[in-house]
Every structure is written in C-alpha cells, then in structure tokens.
C-alpha cells in the first residue's frame, strides 16, 4: 500500500488539548522532518484524537520522527504502520471544467473510478472520490485535459486491518514503540549524517 518507498505512515493518538497541533507541527519543523500529508479527527476514545501522518524521508528520519513525537507529553501513542497490512484512504474533491459537449465523457470517467458527482454547475462539475492516493492521482490525470479548476485532498487516513486477536492500529504501534524506544538499530551506516560542523 506504500507506493513511495520513502513515505512512511505514522499514526498518533493525542490528547485533545489546546495547542497540540502546534506542538506537533513545531516539532516537525524544528527537526526538519517533512510532512507529506496530515489528517486529524476524533478517535473512539473521549478526549483523544487520532492523526495520520505521512512522513517523507529515510529510515533514520522516520525513526527520529516517531521517537521525538513520542516524547511530546500530549502524545499518548505513536505507531509506525508503514510495514503493516493497512487500509489507507484519502478523499478528494475535484472541480473540473465542463461543457455540454464533454460533460458525459467526464461522467463516464467518474463512473469508471466509482467517483460521485456532487455538484453540477453550468460550467463545471465537482467530483468526489475516495481511495488510495494512486487512484486519486490517476483520476486527476485523466481529468486534467478538461481543465481542473480546484483540487482539495484530505491526506491519507490509515488503519491496520482487523486481526483475529482484535488488535487495533495503536497496539501495533505499541509494539513498534517499545522496540523503537529500546533503540533497535536501523540498517546502514553506524553514524548518522548531517552532523553539525559549525562554530
């Protein structure tokens, strides 16, 4: 499910406290981690939200990112589910230019992708689609020749698939988390690059 080898999916369970998003964002900026996407919403537990991050970077980056996230007091659990069997979805709204002559062609394409037309204007259509990023990218590419007026994507939300023992995403994380906290070594160089050499 992870098309880009340098992309990692991280799930964080956080306390709903003022400023918690600022803390996360500030941490990513300060440590130089790149967020490809971020989706936030309520969790099944009162007072806790669940976030899905897609982080771009090598193994070192993602390992540091999860450990640093875990250090934040408001972060209850962090899980790197990149190598897990997950359901990953994104929702997109695409406003595409449409004329009476090509409208049916666009509708056909939308159908092909099981996308829904949620608004029909005189000169445009708004198409709603849900799926993995690749599917959204593909639909977008097909619609591009008609003229895209606006694109809105939510970013990935992801969840570990049900297992017989009923573990949920955070528990997978708990295991990873413990291994990570215990400092398992990443493959590759013994020394980390980018060490500071200035005054």
């Amino acid at each position: 499910m992870n098309q880009h080898s340098d992309q990692h999916t991280i799930i964080a369970l956080v306390q709903d406290r003022p400023g918690v998003l600022t803390r996360l964002a500030s941490l990513f900026r300060r440590r130089g981690f790149n967020i490809a996407s971020l989706a936030v919403g309520a969790s099944e537990q009162k007072g806790l939200s669940r976030l899905t991050f897609v982080v771009t970077g090598d193994q070192y980056t993602v390992e540091q990112a999860t450990r640093q996230l875990d250090k934040l007091v408001d972060v209850v659990k962090v899980s790197n589910i990149t190598s897990e069997d997950v359901v990953a979805r994104e929702l997109a709204l695409i406003k595409v230019r449409a004329t009476p002559s090509n409208r049916s062609e666009i509708l056909e394409m939308a159908n092909l992708f099981r996308a829904k037309v949620v608004d029909v204007g005189t000169r445009s259509l708004v198409i709603e689609t849900t799926g993995e990023e690749d599917k959204i990218d593909a639909l977008y590419d097909l619609l591009r020749p008609f003229g895209i007026l606006e694109l809105m994507r939510t970013g990935r939300v992801a969840m570990v698939r049900g297992k017989t023992d009923g573990r949920v995403s955070d528990d997978v994380g708990a295991e990873f988390d413990q291994a990570s906290r215990n400092g398992f070594a990443v493959a590759g160089a013994r020394f980390q690059p980018g060490h500071y050499e200035g005054v």
């Binding site: 990570s180 906290r181 400092g183 980390q192 060490h195 500071y196 005054v199």
Partner: protein, 568 residues
Amino acid sequence: MELTGAQIVCESLLQEGVDTIFGLPGGAVLPFYGALSAYPGLRHILVRHEQAAAMAADGYSRATGKVGVCSATSGPGATNLVTGLASAQMDSVPIVCITGQVPRAAIGRDAFQETDITGITLPVTKHNYLVMDVRDIAPAIKEAFYIARTGRPGPVLIDIPKDVLAGEKIEFVWPDEVDLPGYTPPGAPEPQQVAAAASLINEAQRPIIMAGHGVLISRAWDELRQLAEKAQIPVITTLLGIGALPTDHVLNLGMPGMHGMAYASLAIDRADLVVSLGARFDDRVTGRIADFAPNAKIIHCDVDPSEFNKNVIADVPVLGDLKLSLRALIPMVNSNVHLDWVQETDRLRNEHPSLFIRKSDELLPQQVLKELSDITGGDSIIVTGVGQHQMWAAQHYGYREPNSLITSGGSGAMGFEVPAALGAKVGRPDKTVWSIAGDGGFQMTLCDLATAAENNIDVKYAILNNGSLGMVRQWQDFFYEKDFFATIYSGNPDFVKLAEAYGIRGIRVTRQDEVAGAIEEAMETPGPVVVDFVVKEDEFVFPMIPAGESVNEMLEEPNSQGVGVESA
C-alpha cells in the same frame, strides 16, 4: 477556605517543597506577587533581569538537585527568560517558570504586553502550559514539577492570565497524582539489553566509559565508580559529566573532544568499546562523526530513547534510569584489570600532557585556575560563562564532588556565569562558589551584581579579563587569517570600580605573584567579591580539535614538552 489563583500557585509551590523563587514582577503577574508577600516560606529573590532569574534557577537546581523556580511578567518579562530556558533545555536542567499573562478576554487582541510565550517557548521547554481556568492551576503545577524532574529533566513553563490569578476563588485541592497518559519516563532497563551490554564489556580489551550529565542527573556517581573500579575501565567525562568521578581518581582520563585532553580523545580513538553513560554524542565531543571511536563498539545508556541512533548508532542501547541500569549491570560485569590498556592510557597521558602550563612572564589565565584549584582544594562549586575561560575551568580545576561544575554546555550561553552562580550559592550556602567569568559574558549579565549585593549572596567572581571575546578571537586567529574583527573590547569598564559601585569588594590582579593572595583575600572577605584578573590577551586554549575534524587533526600546545607545571 477559598483561595485566589495566585494563592493556589503559592500553596502548590509549597506542596512541591519550593523554598526559593527568582523573579521580577510586572502588571500581569502582580496578583501572584501580591499573594507571595504573605508566604514567608517562599523566599523571593528579586533579580535585575529575567534572564538572570531563569539562569539562577538553573544554577540553583544543579547545585541542589531540586527543581529551580523563576517567575516573570507577561510580554518582555517572559521573553527575557527565553535564553535561560533554552540553556536549561539543552542541558536537561529541571526548572519551572511561572509567567503572568494578559487577562483571558484580552488574549489574541495584541493587548499591552501580550506575547504568546507558550508558542515562543515550545522548542525550548520540555513542556508548557497556558492555564485558562483557576481549577487547572494546582494540577498544572503538580504536572509541571513532575515533568521537569523525571525522565530526562528539562524546563517547564506555566503561563497564567492575570484574571485567572486574581479572579474566581476556589477551594485549594492538591491532586494526589498526575494524570499524564502520554508521559511515562523509563524506569529499570530491559534485562536482555543489560545482559548484552555486560557481555560486550566482559569481552572488551580496551573499554572506555564516557560519563555524561546523565550520571549526575540520576545521581549514579557511586555506581559509575563501582563499575569503573570493578572492571578497571578508564573514564572520560564530558563537559557536563565533570565531577561524576573526582578529577584525581586514577581512572579519570579527563574530558574528551574539541578542547578536551589529548589523551582522552586519543583513548577513545584506540578503544574497542565505548560505554556511554548519560551522554548524547554532542558534536563538541565527537568531532567528525565518521571518525569518532573508529575501532569501538558502542553501548549507549540513556533515559531518553530519542537519543538512540540520533548521532551515533549504538551496538547495544540500554534504555532506563541510569542508576537502575548501572545497578543491574554491575553484578553482571566481571572483575577485570585491563592492565595493558590502562598502561597505554597512562602512556598517552605522559606523551600528551595537555594540561601543561608553560612558563611565561605574563599572567596566564590557566595559572589562575590552577592556583584556585590548589587553594580551594577542589572543594568549591565552579560556575562558568562560555568561551576560553570555560574550557580552562574544565581543564585546570580539580573537581572533587558531583555537580561542582555548573556551566551552560549545550547552549553555550554567555552571561550564565553571573546569575547561575547566584542560584548555586543560594542553593548551597555551605559551599564556596566561584564564578569564572569572561569579560565578555560578565558584561552581559553584570547588572545582577546588584542582586548579589542586595541579598549578600556570597559569590566570588573571578573575571579572566583578556579584553576580548577570547574564544572567537582564537577562531579568528586559527581560521580567519587573524582578522580580529569585532572581538576586541577596547572600552571595557574598570571592573574594580564597577564592583565598588555596587558596594562589592573589587580586587585587581595583573601579576603572577598576586594571584594566590587575591584568591585568599576574596575568600576571607565576607559577601560577594569581584576579582579582575587581567590576563594575557592572546592566549589559546589547547588542545583543539577544529570543528568538524577528528583527533588526527588535533592541535596541541606547541610548548607542552617544555618546562612548566603540570596542572590539575
């Protein structure tokens, strides 16, 4: 009885065992001060600048092992704390700062002296709070102290709007416990990790222990000593680990790194195992990372898992409170002698006498430290600024006790020397506290000499006055074609007169034969003293491994093979 928010702050501080607060009031925090005056158990020391409050809290904390407390008003008062917070964060020092904020209704409206201090301090605190309800004050304070002192310690800031301090009154309830589901400081280590560490140690032929600040923070100096002595492992101490083992202990090989002892850096280079105890592989220690300890496996013991694999990938990481980790480790480590290896380190020590002070007609700064060490018997608490004098203080003073060197290591904040020394002395009135200052750093915070005078805080200030920003000047000399641009202080004040203006005894020393007398006179004089040691202007700190280079590029004192005295 119902209490105001301000009274609840005071009650909560008492519950946490606080006895001293360094601070300076202003409008937004005034309700707190209004309450504080009725709490004689909370001694407030009025500073002249809020940076001094934060740094004094830092010095107090390191000298006592307790959480240091400071307070400031909103806006500029709070922002003045930031340099002190950043330094405490980098050096893992537990302090709690209470700041006043504009009233709730005014927040977000650019009210007078409104600053988003929780936003500003996000990256320089371990955690922070904006308390918007009087009911949240006591839990926030309890959490703040818990977070500050547990795990890897650090500063916590609590920002409280004026109307929360002075508005609604409620019954004071001190919570039984903290509710922090996202915060679990590690305790005892995993047995497999300890076993793996023990077997690496038992196999090693040329092991070395690198003791960092973590040893002092977890009060594991006895365990460090037991481990080192049981297996006869030489110990190097990072700048912040100094004092974890007495300087004169036979196994103490001194400080490694940029201005460390050559033999310490060379020993790491030759070691086949580095046992890092509460150190974080800072670039000032490792130099060029790829060349650090090229022949060694690494055991990395830390309480902060994010340190693992951050700079160096450990062969065996051991997560846990260091004292508990060492207690688990020691019984599994075999007694050993490592005779060849210890002899080799002795040889390195003889071949590279890094603490050599050459003969000179001029007053050398190293000599001041050496004589201070001899006269005080290594028994003082030394607080330093940042620069050459800091490195000489690390090199030439013989430390006997844990936490007897207090310095801004990770942040390197000049100006630390004046206020942190005040905090240390307030916390440890039984100890002689010497502040080793640069004339540069001293002038950043000297306004707080008034605080020393006013409260008769008996700090002895030794300015190693080289009339310049010495360390930067040294870099210019070595790496910037001797272009001494913007590093020479040609208009320094007369520090003796300056001291006298504050009602403090001032002594000037310009000759070698005056050093001992001045030190003794300062110590015999009750109350704070300033000694202005006018030292050779262009003395260099050696050894030096230039930034980003390795031990192979180390520069040593050119005359170190000549006649002179071996120091410390």
